[in-house]
Amino acid sequence: MRSSSPRPRSGLSFRRTAAAALLAIVGIALATSLKPREFARRADLLVRALRGETIPSGQGTRYWFDPAYAEFLEEVRRRTPEDARVVILAPRVPDTYAYLAVYVLAPRRVLTDPGSGEPGFVASYRSAPGARGEPITQGTLERR
């Protein structure tokens, strides 16, 4: 009902302008959260991926904490059957080590507890020299 009553044109115009300007401020404030340098990096990654280039894990974000871990997981994935149980021995911090192992190696059943004693494979990331099992990229792989 209120808007049915006549209003001074200038007041209406002011309110419209003010309202539009205030929403523009909201929009600008939201837009400023974009990081141009990060966006440029991502745009570059996309262009390279579309060209068919394989992006090294060190240049992507998934393995930000340890790019070499990508090579290790890929090697374990290549050497183990899909229905295998795989125990992954890797650092506990950050927990992304465990999340990535389970995600990348799926559908294999991945365990991070070395004492499970179940038959399958034990993959040790960056294991010390003399560790049991066959040496693979960035670690060892033992069948038990």
């Binding site: 209120r2 539009a20 929403l23 401020i25 909201v26 996309l46 992507g60 995600y103």
Partner: protein
């Protein structure tokens, strides 16, 4: 397979989902504009494809695009039969207000397109990497797609105790469905689902605001959604926040439509939105329940027993989803919350934790977002009530529930707040624009909503209803 090849397949799969959804949406698209029809078709299509995929998956793990297309064809045929029986062959849409778009509208549409493109580039730039994707949503999707006994694996394997077994499954099942349609788990191409959800959110808000206020207001709302980079950013690709924002927007629009007219088509849309929302994230269930509560407080303004039908349309899918999820997952213990804090003996401790959360909000989030918050407050002062204002209590209580949830967190409440509040809050923003952008006099033409609109959009209120 190369990224261009898998991305093209993914685009095709999304188009097929949209087409399947459109075939069903035609049964209940009354009162929608063209933009909204596209968005709703995508939402309905997504849920439908997931249902089809799970059906075939239960018969044979090796589901391919052929069987999904076959089922889509059957559904489209059924839709056609129903429409023929009803004598309904209309392809028309409600037009957004205003005539041919003016340069200002084109300019805002350009801003929206640019904002969306930014998210598209971020989403597709590399395989999805967000922690929540790797540990929850993507992991479940991959297991569903690749593991014959997926339910046993997801909900019984002690090694996956951290994967939040109690979470809804629409996002993982969507990923598995699209993986089946494109012929493999390509987690860079699958990321296109997220820009698709953003585009659908933009179209939903733009269409709704355009039909209730003006084309200019709709375009402005679209630009604001697209510029919401705190939500549409790389770290949220692969998580449930972006689909949730879309789902909340759908529920908000459907609820407002039902409050105008409780026709069967609008009730069906509300139920569809409820299904989408509750099966995306638990915050969606909260939003749906709060929407039902708002309905009960406004039942006198709705004709006859329409409010009860609307409440049923909201809550029945939520209840059915809860039962279904419980059957699939079995009883799962929650490790995120310490409910003993709600016991009277620990209220003093709870009060301290609540104070911590509130102080954290004021000292971090409110300070960071001070300028937009002040701009919104001023905007509310210079504008008048709009159709979306009935949604205020939902947002207020939803945020209050988040505060309580952080206070009873099993972890340090400040840590829990810092880890989750911002992404939870920004997921509400697109739906919140339904309030802002439909307010009177705020934007050119918006004052029309106070005095009525074309009958095709807003049917006359029945006798006895409040103005």
């Amino acid at each position: 397979m190369s990224l261009p090849a898998t991305a093209l397949r993914m685009l095709g799969a999304i188009a097929v989902a949209g087409a399947a959804g459109w075939a069903l949406m035609r049964l209940f698209d009354e009162g929608l504009g063209r933009l909204e029809k596209v968005a709703w078709s995508f939402a309905v299509g997504l849920v439908t494809q997931c249902g089809i995929y799970l059906f075939w998956r239960s018969l044979d793990p090796g589901v391919g695009w052929g069987r999904i297309l076959l089922a889509d064809g059957v559904l489209a045929g059924c839709s056609l039969v129903v429409r023929r029986a009803r004598g309904d062959f209309s392809l028309g849409s409600v037009r957004e207000k205003g005539g041919w778009p003016r340069p200002s509208i084109w300019l805002l549409a350009l801003v929206a397109a640019a904002g969306w493109s930014v998210f598209l580039v971020q989403a597709l730039s590399e395989p999805m990497w967000a922690t929540d994707f790797l540990a929850i949503w993507g992991l479940k999707g991959k297991v569903i797609f690749q593991t014959p006994q997926w339910a046993e694996r997801l909900f019984s394997d002690a090694g996956l105790f951290w994967s939040h077994r109690e979470y809804p499954l629409l996002v993982p099942v969507s990923l598995a469905t699209f993986a089946a349609m494109i012929g493999g788990w390509a987690d860079q191409a699958l990321a296109l689902l997220w820009p698709a959800c953003e585009l659908a959110t933009i179209l939903t808000v733009a269409g709704f605001v355009g039909r209730h206020a003006s084309g200019f207001a709709g375009a402005g709302a679209a630009a604001l959604v697209a510029l919401c980079f705190p939500l549409f950013q790389a770290v949220n690709v692969g998580t449930a926040e972006v689909p949730l924002a879309f789902a909340l927007t759908l529920v908000g629009c459907a609820l407002l439509d039902v409050m105008e007219s409780g026709s069967a088509a609008r009730l069906a849309r509300l139920a569809a939105a409820s299904v989408f929302c509750v099966s995306t994230k638990q915050e969606g269930t909260l939003f749906v329940v709060l929407s039902a509560l708002v309905l009960t407080t406004r039942h006198r303004r709705m004709p006859g027993r329409k409010w009860a039908g609307a409440g049923l349309a909201l809550l029945a899918p939520a209840a059915a989803h809860w039962v279904l999820l419980r059957l699939v997952t079995g009883p799962q213990s929650r490790r995120d919350f310490d409910f003993t804090l709600l016991a009277p003996g620990r209220w003093s401790e709870l009060a301290v934790r609540m104070e911590t959360v509130l102080r954290r909000f004021v000292e971090t989030e409110a300070r960071t977002a001070l300028i937009p918050l002040l701009a919104i407050a001023a905007f509310l002062l210079v504008t008048r009530r709009g159709v979306g204002d009935v949604l205020w209590p939902i947002f207020a209580v939803q945020l209050a529930c988040y505060a309580v949830a952080f206070s009873i967190s099993a972890y340090d409440p400040a840590y829990a707040f810092d880890a989750a509040f911002r992404r939870l809050a920004v997921a509400l923003f697109p739906a919140f624009l339904l309030i802002l952008c439909t307010r009177g006099v705020g934007i050119e033409g918006a004052d029309v909503i106070q005095t009525g609109s074309p009958p095709s959009v807003r049917p006359p209120k029945p006798e006895g209803s409040a103005a």
